[in-house]
């Protein structure tokens, strides 16, 4: 990277002070995208002209003495399952490969209204279904720290883009860990807000009771800055919450004295790679040295998170993805004379969806079908309630619950693609926050012997992202792990 500032806060301040123009910042980040995309494949679409025009508009507003927004001139990358008006949005699926949304997702509209500059749309697992970004119709993303490794998924392109310096902020979506696990694999910060904290309007739906949009950044402060812009009630999303939105940047006191950190030791000790467990224990010790209190907690139902998650999310996916019918938008098969409407539906969907998406639609259709609903879907929804009680009990004695984000460092490309169940098991520590709706953050907590990033996950009380960001910021100040990969 050049000598230009490279956090969102520093860019925003430098643009506002006239030390650098928004166009210069934008061009430097676009150059970085062009330089890294051949090796990383982090972007499905780069919108250089649109970005430079938006940056020029910020510079013009500053020259005219207008008030600038809280992200004025800050480049952002948007996961390609979030609608951008007039800019292709594919969900990394062949079924949407030419889809141009006629409207903006609320989060992208809010970012642009705050002066942020959209540089492009990031690669992801198809419809956000995956844990390695290998389920993309546009090819896998590579990890900027080691090109033979996955960046994680499903928001792998967003994570790689931030770690490689293509943008200080990317938006991701998280249904079972899709912000936090790639943040962990790429050595950056990723926050899944409380369910309902951020509008889902314009997010291409995967599992509506679990999906949540959130920031991926290199610092906790930039995550807080982004949350200030994207959080809050939206009348276009009936599940968005009217809860008051605090100034998240005001929470960053640098102090964790008195913070009670819960560690579910029995859950965390099982099936975790040694380097991850060592990094986790060091991170807990660092928080303790900084004044936090460490408390043992139990989450007896957490080991059931994976089966519960894959029953619930596939059921919802099978319903949500029924909309891809080749009528109003999306891929339609080439019809022969005499082909029926039924054939059009079935063949278009078979051609348009990739293997993992079909697998999940099939599984979800099965668990919702007559005779199986009670044994699978209803049972899973009941265990979800038990899991919620586990967390309620834990939060009686602690303020945050700490776990590794992923049981392993980033794994090798192709390592798990033939065995979907092995891929699903990598989500063991992330799915429960989605199942119960709680906010959770992944922050960098070191590297293994191969210099592969490891992440620490903190889960907080309902609507208490502020405490997560405060702890993340304090830990970051105490450790200063590098977050910019030199691709």
């Amino acid at each position: 990277m050049s000598t230009l500032p490279h956090t969102a806060r520093a860019i925003r301040d430098a643009v506002a002070a006239g030390e650098v123009t928004a166009v210069e910042v934008c061009q430097a980040h676009l150059d970085r995208v062009v330089a890294t995309n051949p090796s990383l494949n982090a972007f499905n679409t780069v919108c250089a002209e649109r970005a430079l025009a938006a940056a020029a508009a910020v510079d013009a507003r500053r020259a005219a003495g207008d008030v600038l927004g809280p992200l004025a001139g800050v480049p952002v990358a948007i996961k390609d399952n979030l609608c951008t008006n007039g800019l292709r949005t594919t969900a990394s699926s062949k079924i949407l490969d030419t889809f141009v949304p006629p409207y903006d997702a609320t989060v992208t509209a809010r970012l642009e209204a705050a002066g942020a500059i959209v540089v492009g749309k990031t690669n992801c697992d198809e419809f956000a279904m995956g844990s390695s970004n290998e389920n993309s119709a546009f090819g896998p993303v590579k990890n900027p720290w080691a090109l033979d490794r996955t960046p994680g998924g499903s928001s792998g392109g967003s994570a790689a883009a931030v770690a490689a310096g293509c943008a200080p902020i990317a938006l991701g979506s998280d249904t079972g860990g899709s912000i936090r696990q790639p943040a962990s694999f790429c050595g950056i910060v990723g926050l899944k807000p409380t369910y309902g904290r951020v509008s889902r309007y314009g997010l291409l739906a995967f599992a509506s009771s679990l999906d949540q949009v959130g920031p991926m950044t290199r610092t906790a402060a930039d995550a807080a800055l982004t949350m200030n812009v994207i959080a809050g009630y939206d009348r276009a999303d009936a599940t968005s919450s009217a809860s008051a939105v605090p100034d998240f940047t005001a929470a960053l006191t640098g102090d964790v004295k008195g913070l009670r950190v819960g560690v579910p030791r029995a859950f965390v000790s099982n099936g975790v790679d040694a380097p991850v467990l060592e990094a986790f224990d060091r991170a807990i010790a660092t928080l303790k040295d900084a004044g936090a209190t460490v408390v043992d907690v139990e989450l007896p139902n957490a080991p059931s998170g994976i089966p519960v998650y894959y029953l619930v999310c596939t059921a919802e996916a099978s319903s949500n993805l029924a909309r891809y019918d080749a009528v109003r938008y999306g891929h339609r098969t080439t019809l022969a004379p005499g082909d029926t409407l039924q054939t059009m539906y079935e063949r278009s969907r078979d051609e348009g969806f990739g293997p993992e998406v079909k697998r999940r639609i099939m599984l979800g259709t099965y668990v919702l079908s007559a005779g199986y609903y009670d044994a699978y879907y209803l049972k899973a929804q009941q265990v979800r309630t038990l899991l919620r009680r586990d967390y309620d009990e834990a939060f009686r004695s602690v303020d945050v619950v700490a776990m590794p984000t992923s049981p392993t460092p980033p794994f090798t490309l192709g390592e798990k693609t033939d065995d979907p169940l092995q891929m699903y098991l990598t989500d063991i520590f992330t799915v429960s926050a989605n199942l119960v709706g709680l906010p959770a953050i992944s922050i960098p907590c070191g590297f293994d012997a191969h210099r592969l990033p490891i992440g620490l996950q903190l889960t907080g009380r309902m609507f208490d992202e502020a405490t997560l960001l405060r702890a993340a910021d304090a830990y970051e100040r105490a450790t200063q792990w590098p977050t910019l990969a030199s691709v």
């Binding site: 006629p102 089966p307 029924a322």
Partner: protein
């Protein structure tokens, strides 16, 4: 233990409106059996008297006045259609009624 047959997979595919190839059907017989067998562990958990989680914020009020609001125009709504008649304002599909 769950064991899906080829006929089960074909029945589900028809419900899901997916025209699977023979290879895909055989792959899904194996993979869906594996996943469901794994998922059956939830059936051992005692959930008697436990309510299902319908929403993580059950107290949230979602009612609001039903007010007309601006919406997409016809041209924008048709712009992404694989086959549309823009003049008539229609999505076109294969003939349904003989």
């Amino acid at each position: 233990m769950s064991s899906l047959s080829l006929e089960d997979v074909e029945r589900i595919a028809a419900l899901a409106r997916l025209e699977l190839t023979a290879d895909e059907k055989h792959l899904f017989v194996r993979q869906l059996t594996d996943i469901l067998t794994y998922a059956e562990q939830v059936q051992r958990i005692d959930t008697s008297g436990i309510a299902a989680t319908a929403h993580v914020h059950p107290d949230q009020r979602v009612e609001r006045e039903d007010e007309p609001r601006p919406s997409l125009g016809v041209a924008a709504a048709l712009a992404n259609a694989p086959d549309a008649d823009a003049d008539a304002g229609l999505f076109k599909v294969p003939r349904v009624i003989g």
